[in-house]
Subunit: 147 residues, 2 copies
DNA sequence: GTTGAAATACGAAGGCC
DNA sequence: GGCCTTCGTATTTCAAC
């Protein structure tokens, strides 16, 4: 994991469909060498997958909200319970007053209301507090430490 | 934007390196037709880009926190001010008591502290409140409405 | 949307530093 | 161990239908 690897990661983040030859030209290596490095980054799990970034409003997920959840018990299946709600994009355990923080995306406010109701009905949830996002400045991939 | 387009988006989210022939087999179309559909999805901006998903801990971003920020004035350059901090991965204006919510990723707690200090020094910021993430259940791509 | 052909890129092998 | 070059194969890309 050297500077060249980091540069490759940054380039692939911008456009994962670039030919290896182009990546090689950017970092001063041959296509074959880049190919080998990227393969290793995949094997090591540094690159988890190659995916597409979709405009949320184009797939009926234009509304975003963060939901604080008080999970009273030590919900063993909390992960699965939240994952079963497709509108929940992220679920984190936090160190604050509320134990779980969700990022939720829906098509409109009525849809959000339905999702909140569904979350509230999950076993072990005592309180939910939704904060609606009015505008998203940016959501970007991890910036690379330019060491 | 029909069911086939949505299916293609879901398949590309899982693996954007699949050959068009494989996508075609999955949705019952020829590779050429899939190619044309994907091109149009890109042109329309539904697919914003093809990128890689990086393991945060592999690039020194293993610590995650959400930061509530009170932006007193009507900071015109708020977006740029937050974007200038590379550790800020997301920035949203919210409808709650705090006006801005940031998602921040750092290498360790000391690094987080430095970032918080830097955010606090931004012109127009009166108060910050960080909530540290202890464990992330999941962060997943937008789930497709299976209409 | 399909088919088919040309251009291009991938992925593996072998040799070199 | 990492890099370069080469070659056969698979994929992309674009034409005509």
């Amino acid at each position: 994991m050297d500077d060249i690897d980091r540069a490759l990661l940054a380039l692939l983040q911008q456009d994962a469909l670039q030919p290896y030859a182009a990546l090689g030209a950017a970092v001063g290596l041959s296509a074959g060498a880049v190919h080998e490095r990227v393969r290793k980054l995949r094997d090591r799990g540094v690159i988890r997958r190659t995916t597409i970034d979709i405009d949320p409003s184009a797939v009926d997920r234009g509304v975003c909200a963060f939901v604080s959840v008080d999970a009273s018990a030590w919900m063993g299946e909390a992960r699965d319970a939240f994952a079963a709600v497709p509108e929940v994009q992220e679920a984190h355990i936090t160190a604050g007053s509320s134990s779980v923080l969700l990022k939720v995306r829906t098509g409109d406010n009525e849809h959000l209301q339905r999702v909140l109701r569904r979350i509230h009905e999950i076993e072990g949830i005592s309180r939910t507090n939704a904060t609606i996002v009015l505008e998203t400045f940016f959501e970007r991939p991890l910036t690379q430490p330019t060491a």
